[in-house]
Each structure stands twice: as structure tokens, then as C-alpha cells.
């Protein structure tokens, strides 16, 4: 554990670029506090930004005009709020068997916040999109330590960029964004993995050709057809790989770690569930290794993109008790029983099985 400026202690995976995940106790609530929210960077030259001089440049060959938006300008647009999960594409990579190279995240490369900002669509309306525009590309103010290293640039298909839920946020849980979560403004792409949520947003370009570069391909790719994702990014797909898009339905037991000691009798197991924005429909829990299942109780619904809390009461008998949990979303998708292996370690939504030792 190590503390970054402005943060509670997080699990340090790397100093530079900074990659820090949230430990399990920080997921006790469906909103993750700002100072407990995980940190993920690809590049290590991360400037401190003064909101008074901060600008977002908007243009590109797919736009009819170009403009610059200041931080004050942003606040003049209609403001919207949304509660949404930001989960790193590689969350749980460290659990992959066989192991794959990369940041070895455990369960905590994710968080859920109430984001406030402006619709990306409203900003794009300022310049106007040509009918040939196919993608919207984003860059942030951070850069590589070495100038030959590819800058971190990501794009979205136009349909996702103009979705009313896609925001440029300047507040997180009622406060300015923490430096390490993208101050002063970042992209919010509800339902999609964190790779698209550009921090320290500096440029927005409408494109008539697909965005190239390392971070679009070969990075952040999944094998075509391996996962049951609905949202596709067709202008970036090829015969074998597709960009990662929406999150798969998943859950996390937050009240107990594997091997936890508990008292004999009634035990409340708690956790969170989320998906790519269809909404969590049900959580099933099993105490007999998956032979029989019963429904957990769902907690507050903060919206279809939010963490959904749940709880399940079991009667612990002396000795070993196991709890398995499986989330189902509103389009009927469930977690998997075994890992769907892929070379980057993405989309691990294997059902957890946690052992509780009662004595």
C-alpha cells in the first residue's frame, strides 16, 4: 500500500507511470470516494493543469469547424449527472491462468462515481459533424517520457460519442476531479471500459478515417466472437480482433475475503454487481458449490451504469462454508463458470467462490 498525493493508501502496482488499485474495503459502498478511487496511467509525463488556462481543442477532418473550449466555457453548457462504473479493461488480469504480461491487477482497478459534466454531443454540435465522420478521437494532456513512445490517443465510434450518457465531466462525487483521475476534465463513457475515459482531456477530433496508433491496435483488443458483447466498434474491427467495448456483467464479494473467519450462525455476505449498462437484474448465490441457487437481495438502484449493491444471508455451519455468486443483467447475460482466456487478460467475469471458515 502507498499513498499518492490526495489519495488514501492504495495498492501500488507501479510508481511510474502510476498504477494503483483500490483494496477491497474501499468497495463497502456503491459510490467509491474520490480519495479511494483507483489510478491508472499508460504514460508517465503527467502535468499539473491549471483550470484557468486549460483548453479543449475541438476539430478534425470530420468536423465542419474547429474551436477551443475553456474550463469556464464548459460550465456554461447544460450540466448532466450520471452514476457510472469506471473499470480498467485489465481489471483482474493478475488472476488470468495462464498469466499474461501487463499490469497485474487484482479486483480493484475499478470504481463508481457520480460524474457531473456536459454532453460530448453538445460540444460536437458547436463544430458540427460532416456526414463522413465515423469516429471521434481523444487525447489527454499526459505524454510519454520519451518522444518516440506513442501518445495515448483513443477513439469512439460516432454513435457512442453522441450518446446522451457520454459526458465530459468536471466534477466527481460533487468535487473537482482528483489530479490522478483526470483533473480538470475527463471523458465519461458509461458502460465501456476505462480505456476510453480519457483523462486531462485536451483534444477532440472528428475523423473520417479510423484512428490508428498502438493504443487502438494492437492494444485493447479482444478476439472476435469470444465474448457476448452487444456493443461493437465496427470501423476498428478486423477478421481476428475487435476493440474492447462494453463491460461484461460481473460481481464482487466485498464483505469477506477468501478464507475469512466467521462465527457459526447467520452471516450477511455483501457485494456489488455491474455490467455494460443494461442494468443488473438479479444476483444468485449458492452455498453448495453451484448445485442450487437462491436470490440475493438487491440494494439501492443508482442507475443502470452504477454499481448495484446486494446482500445474501447464509447460515454458517462449523467448518468450511463456500459462497458463490452469479450476476445476471437485464438482457440475460451471466457470469462465466470458467475463464474465457485471451492474451491481454480482459473481461474476467468468472464467478467468485469464497470460503468462510466458521468456528
Amino acid at each position: 500500500m502507498a499513498a499518492l498525493p490526495g489519495k488514501q493508501p492504495l495498492i501500488k502496482l507501479s510508481y511510474r507511470p502510476p498504477n494503483y488499485e483500490s483494496p477491497l474495503p474501499y468497495f463497502a459502498t456503491p459510490i467509491t470516494p474520490n480519495d479511494r478511487f483507483y489510478v491508472r496511467y499508460h504514460l508517465s509525463d503527467i502535468p499539473s493543469i491549471d483550470a484557468r488556462t486549460y483548453k479543449i481543442a475541438i476539430g478534425g477532418d470530420g468536423a465542419n469547424a474547429q474551436t477551443e473550449i475553456t474550463f469556464d466555457d464548459l460550465k456554461k453548457f447544460p450540466a448532466y449527472e450520471i452514476v457510472a462504473v469506471n473499470q480498467c479493461s485489465g481489471n483482474r488480469r493478475g488472476l488470468s491462468k495462464p498469466h499474461v504480461a501487463g499490469v497485474q491487477w487484482g479486483y480493484g482497478a475499478m470504481g463508481c462515481a457520480r460524474w457531473k459534466g456536459v454532453r460530448l454531443k453538445d460540444l460536437l454540435d458547436k463544430v458540427g459533424l460532416k456526414k463522413e465522420a465515423i469516429e471521434i478521437a481523444f487525447n489527454g494532456a499526459e505524454g510519454p517520457a520519451f518522444d518516440k513512445t506513442p501518445d495515448f490517443i483513443k477513439s469512439l465510434p460516432v454513435w457512442k460519442a453522441v450518446d446522451e450518457s457520454t459526458l465530459i465531466a468536471y466534477e466527481m462525487n460533487g468535487e473537482p476531479l482528483p489530479h490522478f483521475n483526470g483533473y480538470p476534465a475527463r471523458l465519461i463513457v458509461p458502460g465501456w471500459t476505462g480505456t476510453y475515459w480519457m483523462k486531462h482531456l485536451s483534444t477532440i477530433d472528428a475523423l473520417t478515417k479510423p484512428q490508428g496508433g498502438f493504443w487502438m491496435n494492437p492494444a485493447y483488443r479482444i478476439p472476435v466472437g469470444e465474448f457476448p458483447v452487444v456493443a461493437r466498434f465496427m470501423t476498428q474491427e478486423n477478421a481476428t480482433t475487435a476493440p474492447i467495448t462494453e463491460m461484461v456483467v460481473n460481481s464482487l464479494i466485498t464483505s469477506h475475503v477468501d478464507g475469512a473467519k466467521v462465527k457459526v450462525g447467520k452471516i450477511t455476505v455483501r457485494g456489488l454487481a455491474w455490467d455494460g449498462g443494461y442494468g443488473v437484474r438479479a444476483i444468485a448465490a449458492s452455498t453448495d458449490g453451484g448445485q442450487t441457487w437462491s436470490a440475493a437481495t438487491l440494494g439501492d438502484d443508482l442507475g443502470r451504469y452504477a454499481f448495484r449493491p446486494w446482500s445474501f444471508v447464509l447460515t454458517a455451519k462449523r467448518g468450511t462454508n463456500t459462497v458463490m455468486v452469479n450476476a445476471t443483467n437485464k438482457i440475460g447475460q451471466t457470469q462465466t463458470a470458467t475463464l474465457l482466456f485471451n492474451p491481454a487478460g480482459y473481461h474476467n467475469n468468472v464467478m467468485q467462490s469464497v470460503t468462510l471458515n466458521a468456528g
Binding site: L4, Y15, R16, P18, P144, K148, T149
Partner: protein, 94 residues
């Protein structure tokens, strides 16, 4: 060369008040360690190496070094690349 690298790290650490405090990472001693410190640490902290140990085979570490050169543009000579990959395989390979 090592002095230059540490000076660069110090420059990063002191760049802004919001920077992370980076503690020195002590890697295992062995032939090639100077090349690892001199090349790899210019762009990322050396805990990346510990984090990916001991899961990578010789081919896996070789692919990582190649990725740093080909995809990330690291200016590492062929001779140094081999010394680095050998060091990583011997000390942090599976």
C-alpha cells in the same frame, strides 16, 4: 549512464507537487543489471519487472523487450537488448 538515469528520475519526482513519490526499486544483482537500470528506468519504474515475475518465459521476456523497442520506440541497441532479455529471464523468468 546510471547517473543520467537517476537524474531523470529525480527530475520526474520533483516535477510537480502532484507527482507520485517513487522509491528506488532494488532488482536482483547480476550481469546486465546496469543495462536494465540504464535503459528500462528511463521510461518506467522497475517495479514493472517485479510485477511480471516469474510468469514470463525466455520467449515472454524477449517479446517484452522487443515490444519496448518496436512499439514504444525505446532506443536500445541490439546488444543491450540481448543482455537485458538474458538478465530478465535468468533473474525474473519462470
Amino acid at each position: 549512464m546510471r547517473f543520467v538515469v537517476f537524474a531523470m528520475i529525480a527530475a520526474f519526482a520533483g516535477a510537480t507537487a502532484a507527482s507520485a513519490e517513487e522509491k528506488p526499486i532494488e532488482l536482483k544483482p547480476g550481469p546486465g543489471l546496469d543495462k536494465v537500470e540504464g535503459n528500462c528506468a528511463a521510461c518506467h519504474s522497475l517495479d514493472y519487472i517485479q510485477m511480471n515475475s516469474p510468469f514470463l518465459s525466455a520467449a515472454g521476456w524477449d517479446a517484452e523487450v522487443t515490444k519496448m523497442i518496436k512499439a514504444f520506440g525505446a532506443p536500445i541497441t541490439d546488444a543491450d537488448a540481448k543482455l537485458i532479455a538474458d538478465y530478465l529471464t535468468k533473474n525474473y523468468g519462470r
